[in-house]
C-alpha cells in the first residue's frame, strides 16, 4: 500500500517535473536588458536618484508592492498573535535561565548588530541592502536579546507602536506623494539631493528606514509571540 501510494505520488511529481522541464527548455540566456529594465538603468538615476537600482525599484517604482509586503508581515504578526493568544491570558515565565556566556555575549553583540542593521537600511539606496535586510538583522538582534534576558517580560507595546507609527508614516509619505508630487509614493516630494550621499534620492532613505523599522518590529513581534508561548501551559 505504501509503495503504491509512493509510486502514485512519484508519477504525479514526475509529470510535474516533465512540465517544468518543458518550461525550462524554453529558456535562453539573456543578452540584454529589456525595455523596462533599460529604463530603470538609464532613467532611474535621474528620476529617483538612488545608486542601488533595486532599492529605487523596491521603494519607488514598485512601492505599492513594498507596501503590500510590509502589510503581509504586519498581517502575519497579527495572525500569529491572534492564534497564539492563550485563553488564560497570563504567561508564565520561560523555563530556562540564560547562560552567563550568552548574556555577556549578547550584551556586547546587540549594539553592534543593531548598528549594522540600522546602517544597512539607512544606506539602502547606496549600497546593497535596505529595509528588509536591515529589519531582518534588527530582528536577529531581538532574538539575541530574548535569549539573554529570557526571564524578563517583554511587552509588545513598544514593538506595536514602532510597527504602527512606521507603517502610518509610510502611508503618509505615500499620500504626500499624491499631494506634493506626481502620485502615490512618489519620492520627489523632496529634492533628490546630491547623488551618492546619504540624504539623497528623495524619500527613499526615509521610507526604507521606516520599512526597516517596521519589518524589524514585525519580525521581532513574530519571534516574541513564539518566544512567549514557550512557557505556556497546555490547555
Amino acid at each position: 500500500m505504501k509503495i503504491l501510494r509512493s509510486s502514485a505520488l512519484l508519477i504525479v511529481v514526475g509529470f510535474m517535473a516533465w512540465m517544468m522541464f518543458n518550461l525550462y527548455v524554453t529558456y535562453d540566456s539573456r543578452t540584454e536588458l529589456n525595455d523596462v529594465a533599460a529604463y530603470y538603468a538609464e532613467e532611474g538615476l535621474s528620476e529617483v536618484g538612488a545608486a542601488n537600482l533595486v532599492t529605487s525599484i523596491v521603494v519607488t517604482y514598485r512601492g505599492l508592492d513594498t507596501l503590500g509586503e510590509v502589510t503581509i508581515l504586519f498581517l502575519t504578526a497579527a495572525i500569529i498573535g491572534l492564534l497564539l493568544k492563550t485563553e488564560k491570558g497570563t504567561r508564565t515565565t520561560p523555563v530556562r535561565e540564560s547562560s552567563e556566556f550568552l548574556m555577556t555575549g549578547a550584551r556586547i553583540l546587540i549594539p553592534v548588530i543593531t548598528m549594522i542593521g540600522v546602517y544597512i537600511f539607512i544606506n539602502g539606496h547606496l549600497s546593497p541592502g535596505g529595509g528588509f535586510q536591515g529589519g531582518a538583522i534588527l530582528a536577529s538582534t531581538f532574538i539575541l536579546l530574548l535569549m539573554s534576558i529570557s526571564n524578563k517580560k517583554i511587552g509588545h507595546r513598544l514593538l506595536d507602536y514602532t510597527e504602527a507609527i512606521s507603517g502610518l508614516s509610510f502611508i503618509l509619505i505615500g499620500v504626500l506623494g499624491i499631494i506634493l508630487a506626481a502620485g502615490f509614493l512618489d519620492n520627489k516630494i523632496f529634492s533628490l539631493g546630491t547623488f551618492g550621499t546619504l540624504l539623497s534620492a528623495g524619500t527613499i532613505p526615509i521610507i526604507y528606514s521606516l520599512v526597516g523599522l517596521k519589518v524589524g518590529a514585525e519580525l521581532s513581534n513574530i519571534i516574541l509571540e513564539f518566544n512567549q508561548i514557550q512557557g505556556d501551559e497546555d490547555h
Binding site: F21, S29, L53, V54, I72, I80, L83
Partner: protein, 123 residues
Amino acid sequence: MKLFEIEYISLIAGFILLIVGLWGIISQRNIIKMIISFSILDTSVHLLLVAVGYIRNRTAPIIDSSVNKLNAANEITDPLPQALVLTAIVIGVGITALLLTYALKLFRQNSSLEINQYKSLKW
C-alpha cells in the same frame, strides 16, 4: 557548452529544488516536514526568479564607481527580478511563519503532527 553557464545551472538547480519541494509536500506526512518542504519550494522559486533576471558577465544593478553611469544599461543585470525576489522572500517567510503557527496550534490540540490524523473535515 551552453548548459555549463551559471544561469542554466541555477535554473536547473531551482527546478530540481522545486520538484523536490513538491515531492516533500505531498509525500511527507509530518506537518513540520511539509512546512520545510514548502520553504524549500519557496527558495527554489526565488532562485528561479533571480536566474531569470541574470545576464552573463554583468555587474549588480548598483551604480557605483565600477559602473559607467551613461552606459549602465549595458553593464548591469536586470534589477527588476531582484526587486521582486526581495518581496517574495518576505512574503515567503510570512507564510512559513503562519504555517508553523498553525502546526503548533494543531499539535497543541491533538498532540500529533501527522497530517493524516486531521481528517475531521471531509466530504
